[in-house]
């Protein structure tokens, strides 16, 4: 049965693997370049609370050189979804073109067939997600040194959430596919569903999983230490003079470097910020992973049940 499953899923697994290889091909050369530039410019020494002027220049130069590439990589957060739905295709395909009837009237039980046919894409999803995490973590390392990993683009690809995303996309495509039995339609809708779920979680749910911190400080003094590599949800300047507010969005948010305009009246007297500090990284990852994996398991259980009981 394992051979049969592998042989039948061969194409889709190779596609998923191909996507992975493509990504690696893109990331490896650029990643090496970035790491090299990072060390060459001596940026490691520039981390700390009081960078020198030359460090500012070096950091600025590094960032302006690689920022476009970095922003592009934020779209890679869709890759786990893509891979997840592609891995679901063989199972749905079996139901679509009736070949499951061939398998179920050999000598194998329905239960065993379902178990193995689901176990293989699940295992593949976990494996591919692991490779993605390792690749992107390595690639982003210079940026993470500079800006931390709380920014949405980095946060999405460096922790356990990637497992959750991939499994969720796989499970959603399976659940839709066993009921609807059209592979192309099911994976398309599942991908859209993944996209919507991600936006919902990124923009609304994430900051309700672990309560963000609030800080207030005088504009004239230094900002709180853990604001440095944090993800700022909102920022407000109050007091005489100009008030302004900065915020951050789901894709391409910037770390909190507050620019205080000089020479425009007195400027704000007090700063207020709502933010997620770096120490919240693993708690946030844990909750988000748990939610996605939990929903994924429910959907997979549904798909298995539906196939076992309601399919003839």
């Amino acid at each position: 049965m394992i051979w049969v499953t592998w042989r039948q899923q061969r194409t889709e697994t190779l596609i998923a693997g191909g996507i992975l290889v493509l990504i690696a091909a893109l990331l490896l050369p650029t990643g090496i370049t970035m790491a090299h530039a990072y060390h060459h410019d001596g940026l490691a020494a520039c981390l700390g609370t009081n960078p020198s002027f030359s460090c500012h220049v070096a950091i600025g130069g590094f960032q302006s050189r690689f920022q476009p590439l970095f922003s592009l990589l934020n779209w890679f957060t869709l890759i786990p979804g893509l891979i997840g739905v592609v891995l679901a295709a063989p199972f749905v395909h079996e139901l679509e073109n009736g070949t499951y009837r061939l398998a179920w009237t050999q000598s194998i039980t329905r239960r065993r067939w379902i178990a193995i046919k689901l176990a293989v894409p699940i295992a593949a999803a976990i494996l591919i997600a692991a490779v993605l995490i390792v690749l992107t973590t390595w690639w982003r390392a210079p940026f993470v040194h500079l800006n931390g990993r709380m920014e949405t683009g980095t946060y999405d690809s460096e922790g356990t959430v990637v497992f959750g995303y991939t499994l969720f996309a796989l499970a959603l495509a399976l659940a839709i596919g066993v009921v609807w039995r059209r592979a192309v339609a099911a994976i398309t809708i599942a991908f859209v569903g993944y996209f919507i779920a991600r936006i919902f979680v990124d923009t609304w749910l994430r900051d309700r999983l672990v309560a963000p911190l609030k800080a207030t400080w005088k504009a004239s003094s230094a900002q709180p230490a853990d604001l440095a590599h944090a993800r700022v949800i909102s920022e407000l300047g109050t007091g005489p003079g100009i008030s302004f507010k900065t915020g951050s969005g789901p894709l391409g948010s910037h770390a909190a470097h507050i620019a205080i305009p000089r020479g425009l009246g007195q400027g704000p007297a007090t700063m207020h910020a709502v933010y997620q500090p770096p120490s919240h990284f693993w708690p946030l990852q844990g909750f988000e992973t748990g939610i996605f994996v939990g929903v994924a398991l429910l959907l997979i259980a549904f798909a298995a049940w539906w196939t076992h009981e309601r399919t003839a």
Partner: protein
């Protein structure tokens, strides 16, 4: 061959939503017979076959195949039965060789020699992808998968419906050869009535989710007669025999009856009827009072 019927159904029924696809089906199919399951599309043939191989679960009643429940005791039943589903599903991307390997991996009773012999006799290259074969060749590969298990009972769901006449003939030749060799029981469903008598010795007629007639073909043909006579009422005949179909012209009445004994009424010309006519009559064609007869028949014909 053992004495037990190959298939037994008792009060078997299957409902999808509010619609009954098969209702109150009770029949026995003897071991070693070649049984035709005949009826129009939607009559319940595929449903009955799916219940018999354990693909679906009965809503009411029971079905036993070779003495066991195909759904609950699948591990006992599946190795002994072969099934070729409608449209003979196969993995189109697999080569013939890989398809046979699938059969071997999934069946403890697989006989690779049988499979390879058949493919060789059919002249099909092992490396060829199934998707590139013709319809008739695909049907033969699907049949090989079923036959290499050396099944005691072979189920075929509309096996030849989409095949050209030559492919059709070759398919049935293969099946009949195995029957003559091993005494395998065959149940094949078809909505094509012609040519049934050639191959089958038993008949199950299904229409509107009910069995209309079940029995050996010899007896069925011997037991039905066509009565032709001047225009008359069928009541007198109906007292003694079952009138399956009646039709009238201005001058003439024609009755197709299931005779309970000899027809003594000399006002009728008594003719034999061939199987195709009998089947069509039970399916409701050519009758002036088709629906009424259908109801009466259901009570009588089992």
């Amino acid at each position: 061959m053992n004495e037990h019927p190959a298939l037994q159904a008792a009060g078997l029924g299957k409902r999808y939503g509010s619609k009954w696809a098969l209702e109150d089906c009770t029949l026995e199919i003897p071991a070693g017979s070649v049984t035709a399951l005949v009826g129009p599309n939607g009559a319940g043939k595929t449903t009955l076959l799916q219940l018999a191989v354990g693909l679906s679960e009965p809503t009411t009643g029971t079905v036993r195949v070779l003495g066991h429940s195909p759904r609950d005791e699948a591990v006992s039943v599946l190795p002994k039965i072969g099934f070729v589903a409608q449209e003979h599903p196969l993995y189109r991307g697999f080569s013939i060789k890989e398809t046979l390997k699938l059969g071997q991996k999934l069946n403890p009773s697989w006989d690779d020699r049988v499979a390879l012999d058949r493919i060789e006799r059919l002249g099909l290259p092992l490396r060829q992808k199934v998707g590139t074969l013709s319809g008739g060749q695909q049907a033969q590969v699907a049949l090989t998968l079923a036959l290499a298990k050396r099944p005691q009972l072979l189920f075929l769901d509309e096996p030849v419906a989409s095949l050209d006449p030559l492919a059709r003939r070759e398919f049935m030749q293969s099946v009949m050869e195995v029957v003559s060799d091993t005494g395998m029981t065959v149940v094949l469903s078809s909505h094509i009535v012609a040519d049934l008598e050639r191959v089958c010795d038993h008949l199950v007629i299904l229409a509107r989710a009910h069995t209309q007639l079940v029995g050996p073909i010899d007896e069925i043909v011997a037991g039905h007669r066509l009565l032709v006579g001047p225009r008359a009422d069928s009541a007198a005949i109906a007292r003694m025999h079952d009138v399956i179909r009646e039709s009238h012209t201005e001058r003439q009445t024609t009755l197709l009856v299931r005779a309970n004994g000899h027809v003594y009424d000399s006002s009728w010309q008594v003719l034999e009827v061939d199987l195709e006519e009998i089947v069509l009559a039970y399916l409701g064609y050519g009758s002036d009072r088709g629906a009424a007869h259908a109801a009466a028949r259901e009570a009588v014909a089992r």
